[in-house]
Amino acid sequence: MVIPLVTSLAMSEWNPALDFVISISVSTLVGCFLMTVGRKTRRGEVQVDWKYGYIIAALSWIMLMFLCSIPYLLSGHTGSLLDGCFDVMSGFTTTGLVLTQDLDHISTGLNMWRHMLTFVGGQGMVVLALSFLGKHIGGAYKMYCGEGKDVKLLPNVKNTAQSIWKISMIYLLVGTLALWICGMSIGLSPLPAFFHGLFMFESAWSTGGFAPNTQNIMYYHSFSFEIITIILFVLGSLNFGLHYAIWQGKKKEMVKNIEVQSFFITSFLISAFAVLKLSQTGVYTNAVSSFRRVVYNVLSAHTTTGFGNVYARQFANEWGDFGILLMVIAMLIGGSACSTAGGFKGLRVGIVFKGIVADIKKILSPERNIRVEKYHHIKDYVLDDPTVKASALIIVCYMVLFAITTLLGTFYGYPLADSAFEAASVSGNVGLSIGVTAASMPAVLKIQYILAMYLGRLEFISVFALFGFVIGGVKKLCVKH
């Protein structure tokens, strides 16, 4: 919160500066209390079991959601605490759906805060804490895994977390510079161009989808700006392990990696079908508009970014059921594991697909033949049944979440296609909207969307561990009394 505070002071925005002083103070008080309570764990005197690692990760997100919504509430741009929490969770989970009102008149400080949330959320809050906290933190690796990240770039988890931040910071410098220059060339003044460049980088790299204006990416009316953001969000949706491998000189990884193959195949197919359908129906008839309005949105959905350069209602009114269904599929698949992206991930789709192919081959080949299937993800792995089962299980969890969220949308009277689109957007942490998400929508639906974003980002296990822990505690209490 220090960075938005400094931004507010530099821009002479005194009210937002006070909002951040209050938020920092409350967060410090809560932090001191928690550090006192958990001092033994911090010193490594208490062994942190796997379940506690998951629970800490899940609880820290809830705690941070409330603390980080204070500046939103004090700004007066959100209607309620629930709306503030919705936007914070949307930022943390890199979803990008917005309930904040009157975006065109919010302060630079609050805009900085919104985009920092999404940038930090993309790398992971636990990753941030592990990068900058003391030398030894009990159960560090377990908390890191609890946040849905399991790639170890380096043997030490703290060094891995720092490497993730180094990769992101280098891209931050290059990406912001590119967008800043592009912003000035399309007519923005130097200072606003810098802020727009920084905010849009943070949003694109973390596959977030927030933008400083109501019109999102449409505010700029610029093809070049869109091209730069495409490059950034595709890079952001790739596995940190892949970035690290390429930096280590393993360039062939770009071609061999199962996630990259899966991403390019699915995004090509979905884009091709969407372009074909929308040109057939006469919505986008020339190549440039097809690329800018169709391919851009498909890639934005597939990388779970959520930058939209068509209006929400255009999806409903112009894209038709086929177009909406394609977008739902793209949003649910999502980006790569251990990246800033959401969805059930290209790695799992690739593994399950290869598993099905392997099973078919097994049935068709003579019984005496023993086939060993492999897949390549940074290194070669044997494709065994537990791996396929684990991937399929997470995909099933996502589908159940998607179905429940869609069902709730239809319960409140939204059309099936609209409910499914929005449910896929929240479950996959995308951020594209068909018009369901609004400050006026039912509170229960807002809570369900918050839950869906949270479950989708932490990939279920941590949150299930937290639920189990709470239910177990309640049961114990009931037995006692």
Binding site: I22, I24, T28, L29, C32, Q215
Partner: protein
């Protein structure tokens, strides 16, 4: 007879007034345009909204984004027209309210499928102004009190940590 003549003249004047108001361009809200893109496509429309952000100049023309509270849209206009807008809406300003009459496109071929309005005429309906964001005294007091409390707590915590470290080293 004179009374009847007077009544006829008044009636004629009133009907003329109604005719004038019927002839005025009807303002459409931006959300209606977005919700019914096909119906309004390539039609002349009139919208009214606050100029937001800043002018994005592109040679002789420029983009001005306007928001009427229901939604926002880009307007493609001559750069000289855009220059006449004195104030744009942001945190510190309420922008000029401008009335635009122009052709609405739901898939503008000139601008890569953009949903936009190509401006034919523009007028400033209401001039914008700077917003005075007065700092609330209550907020200042709360901020100062909480900051002092937080600093004190942090100091106590870090001192106790240091003490424990020193004692364990000895």
């Amino acid at each position: 007879m004179c009374k009847a003549l007077k009544a006829m003249i008044i009636a004629a004047l009133l009907s003329a007034l109604f005719m004038i108001s019927a002839g005025a361009e009807e303002v459409t809200d931006i959300n209606s345009l977005i919700n019914e893109t096909e119906a309004f496509n390539n039609q002349s429309v009139t919208v009214e909204g606050e100029a937001i952000g800043e002018v994005l100049e592109r040679g002789e023309y420029a983009w001005v984004n306007i928001s009427d509270g229901t939604n926002a849209i880009g307007v493609w206009m001559k750069a000289e027209d855009a220059e006449s807008i004195g104030c744009f809406g942001d945190y510190k300003h309420i922008g000029d309210t401008i009335r635009i009459t122009g052709v609405f496109s739901n898939n503008c071929t000139e601008h890569g499928g953009d949903v936009d309005i190509h401006c034919a005429s523009m007028s400033i309906v209401k001039t914008g102004y700077s917003v005075k964001n007065t700092v609330s005294q209550t907020k200042t007091v709360y901020a100062a009190a909480l900051l002092c409390l937080a600093c004190a707590m942090a100091l106590i915590y870090f001192r106790s940590v240091k003490k424990r470290k020193d004692s364990s080293n000895n």
